[in-house]
Symmetry: C2
Subunit: 553 residues, 2 copies
């Protein structure tokens, strides 16, 4: 539908919070003459939803800071009309109008030339939540946050239960602990943080436990025990009951696609709206962005939902541009990069994890290394664990996970960038990264992981699964006696690394041999030596004992 | 020269410190049977040379920490013979031998099958240093460091002069200030830190000045005034004299190539040894790595010296592998990424700066943005300045510079990674980086810089040089009155951004117009608006007043 130059292009944005405000502001910048209206059903055109947990715990003191943009500013600066309290209920694609109802019950109808849907998502509400209880909360909106804070002010809470150990769940846990609340975390999966592989997730669990959080993984909530419209305990299917003063549920989100669906917009396999590279739906005049859509995954090459703030913002920008002037840069594929701070650790991932590789039938190898986040001789070096997943023949990077006290975000970002370019482990090994002792090492953890992967694929020597069955192998433990005492490995032959070149002939060169140390680094040296000395089969236990100890239940 | 399988391959490494130790250890890992010898003229096979300034100032307390590997460990763990105090003086390429002299005056001769040269570099010693003075130092070896520390212990130094404002020079300055020494920094160039563009370097100078350092840039040392074999003052060509108790000179390094040159190895235009992608010189049995060689520059496509620890380590690894088994991954091009901490700021660069683009005749545009290093509403956000240099037609990234209180290394590493892949500004704009409020923003500074570059090239609207002559233009200053009072811009028309959509008709649409704010962000909004309203020529002052104020002398 082309407009004559005199006629003003009408752009209507549905939803401000979830990428819509950003789309509208961008549309104005590239088109000073369009009529732009944002219809938001909530009370604020935009707020910092990622900041909600942090105000809950008081780390962000001033609530005002969460209100990143106001309707007034949108009008004064951008001449964008914001209508809060306006819920759009239907789209007439032929007439090019949207209709809906205000919070005061008034009906409205608005014409559009281009429509941008940014209706976002809402928290999944499991069946056990179907109970009247004043101390049962979810945390998704400013209003949710305000109600929790108000409740906790009125009724001091000593014990809280968080159900769901995703990224937001863990942020909430951390902030509740900050308020001196005794927190129990309940997660249905066998681990916290689904995007991480189990052994990395286990490190997060240790950190939670270390800070007094009671962690129940693989635990199904059966029901809530209530008294006087208050939950007093959470009953688990396994039989345990957890006493509680407060329950916050965060078990994932669902795309808010009722409006899109009703309008006949095409949905994808994972339930999000299908868009093209300019964020157009099957109706070229209707765009969709943010949590409600399916993005192209850079590594998988398939589309799926990735309810994350980064892609929401970037898609908003592209939709806003294209809606306003009919052209824009294309939306780039998403890698699913995510990170969370959990007390003194940060943990995150990018690309595919092991489960995702298996689900997609993608062949993979992986390596886990440990390295200081900056020069080990410089004060303040924190241990960083980096897992790299790669294809054994194309050598392409498939994904990575990292956890540690500092520098985790940097390594994830470097690998996410390499993923964007479909880079290989050899690319990673050759990156020219910024080095000075306060920032990294001449061989950065990213390099170390890539080197280890190269060694693995070159068979000098290959890596074993960290949790493999060791029975029947000749296991050589090259750690020091002190290390072994702290963390024993039964049935291993102990030859400290610095004695191996002298004593290697004590070993049987015919038996399949596995070298083990704390992190895999010295075991690599040992395995190389033995292989070079004619041992028929030598491998290196991936990640060493520091990772293996995490493999148990 | 092929060896029979029974005969042991002899690998000789000349120089342990500058990549050689790393080459030797790697050679052992891929070849357990080679005879490997490291000949190092100094007393240690390897030490953390990047840590020297930090022990000088006491930030690294324990000197022992700088000794990353010992000869004993090399023998016990790797069966590598280390001969310290062994200076190689000539190579007989036909006979495949090296000869030299030990520190005790004994001659030695050693056969090799593969020779790896890692002789590194030495500090350039300008003419004015040709003076006998017990308080004149350079800082390149452990011994240099020990002598400075010993001197300062014996004779308390109140005033020190550092000559040369490169990366190491600034580290020394910082550490001397840490010891409560009054430091004067003298630099011949018109700015500190040559790899940075002047306006970014100026921020470093401000930080130095803020911490009490007296900075003389564009200052030539004429001579030293001495008394009793001690320098008492540094006389500058401009006439000033700087009283001093101690002088440390660090004005760049020269490759140590005498041995290579004598052996007839080919040198490149910049004076380093020419190597192929496996670090082989023109003699296929002789490898060279580290500060003494020329690397391929990723962006320039030409070779040159890059005396940095990262490339030295990576080239050592590749030479060690190839020398030991005749194959290896190829060496990847270098981007020249470097970083330094200067008090509360970090500053660094990757790829080309403006001067390098001009010298190479490469067309470029650039943008300078300012953004908080993580979500602005999350406590502790530090301002980060990011300059991105890109090609106006291919859109390829050419280089970047960053400075700020935190997160500088991360952004440089992301852009260095994109440079490795010859990425464009559009790649940067689409990166899926790790975001949560403690780590970044949904729109990371890297995205913001890329967006600004995209706007510039799409002409919505273009950017002006931050230091351009404003006379004759209609300059619209959209800052607040309070901001303008703090940092005035004479002859500008003041319309606060949030009044512009109301008041823009006060301006003359026929006159060439420049929008200005503090960082360029609001000016972009303003320029977009005016352009859309039919203004004939509207541009945005790159980086705004925050950068322009740095353009003066």
């Amino acid at each position: 539908m082309m407009k004559s130059t005199e006629e003003k292009l009408k752009i209507v944005v549905v939803g401000g919070v979830a990428g819509g405000a950003s789309a509208a502001a961008r549309a104005r910048r590239v088109n000073a003459n369009a009529e732009i209206t944002v219809l938001e059903k909530g009370p604020e055109v935009s707020f910092a939803n990622c900041g909600l947990p942090y105000h809950l715990g008081g780390e962000i003191e001033d609530r005002q800071k969460l209100l990143v943009a106001t309707s007034k500013m949108f009008w004064e600066r951008f001449r964008i009309r914001v209508r809060t309290g306006h819920e759009v209920q239907s789209i007439d694609r032929v007439a090019h109008t949207v209709t809906g109802r205000t919070v005061d019950g008034e009906e409205f109808k608005l014409p559009y030339d281009r429509l941008i849907l940014a209706t976002g998502s809402y928290p999944y509400r499991p069946e056990f939540c179907e109970v009247m209880a004043e101390n049962l909360f979810q945390l998704w909106t400013l209003d949710d946050m305000d109600r929790i804070i108000a409740y906790m002010k009125q009724r001091p809470c000593k014990k809280a239960t968080v159900i769901g150990a995703g990224f937001v769940g863990l942020e909430v846990v951390e902030q509740l602990v900050r308020l001196d609340v005794q927190v129990t975390l309940i997660e249905r999966m066998a681990q916290v943080l689904g995007p991480l592989d189990p052994e990395i997730a286990k490190m997060v669990e240790h950190e939670l436990t270390k800070h007094g959080v009671k962690v129940h993984v693989g635990a199904d909530v059966q029901s809530f025990l209530t008294n006087n419209q208050k939950i007093t305990a959470v009953k688990l299917a396994e039989g345990d009951s957890v006493m509680t003063d407060l329950v916050i549920v965060g078990v994932g989100v669902k795309p808010r696609i009722e409006l899109a669906e009703k309008a006949g917009l095409v949905l994808g396999k994972t339930g999000g709206v299908v868009i093209n590279e300019y964020c157009q739906t099957n109706d070229a005049d209707i765009y969709a962005v943010g949590d409600m859509v399916e993005y192209l995954h850079g590594t998988l090459g398939t589309t799926g939902r990735m309810p994350l703030a980064g892609p929401a913002n970037r898609s908003g920008r592209i939709a806003g541009t294209h809606a306003a002037i009919g052209r824009s840069q294309p939306l780039q594929p998403v890698q699913g990069t995510a990170i969370v701070r959990v007390f003194d650790l940060s943990a995150g991932s990018t690309g595919l994890n092991v489960r995702a590789c298996r689900a997609a039938g993608i062949d993979f190898n992986s390596t886990i290394i440990q390295a200081p986040h900056h020069a080990s001789y410089f004060p303040g070096a924190c241990n960083l664990t980096l897992k790299l997943i790669y294809h054994p023949t194309t050598r392409q990077i498939l994904g990575a996970q990292a956890i540690g006290g500092a520098g985790v975000d940097k390594r994830l970002d470097v690998i996410a960038t390499a993923l964007h370019f479909k880079g290989t482990i050899d690319d990673l090994a050759g990156l020219d990264l910024a080095y000075a002792p306060p920032f990294g090492s001449a061989k950065d953890p990213v390099h170390m992981a890539a080197f280890t992967a190269q060694n693995d694929l070159a068979n000098y020597p290959t890596l074993d699964a960290f949790d493999m069955q060791l029975d029947g192998f000749q296991v050589v433990d090259v750690r020091t006696a002190a290390e072994i005492e702290k963390l024993p490995l039964p049935n291993a032959i102990h030859i400290p690394i610095d004695e191996l070149t002298e004593r290697w002939q004590e070993l049987d060169a015919q038996r399949p041999t596995i070298a083990v140390c704390h992190s895999g680094k010295r075991a690599h040296v040992a395995a190389c030596w033995l292989k070079g000395k004619g041992f028929e089969s030598v491998t290196n236990l991936n990640g060493g004992m520091s990772i293996r100890r995490l493999s148990g239940p």
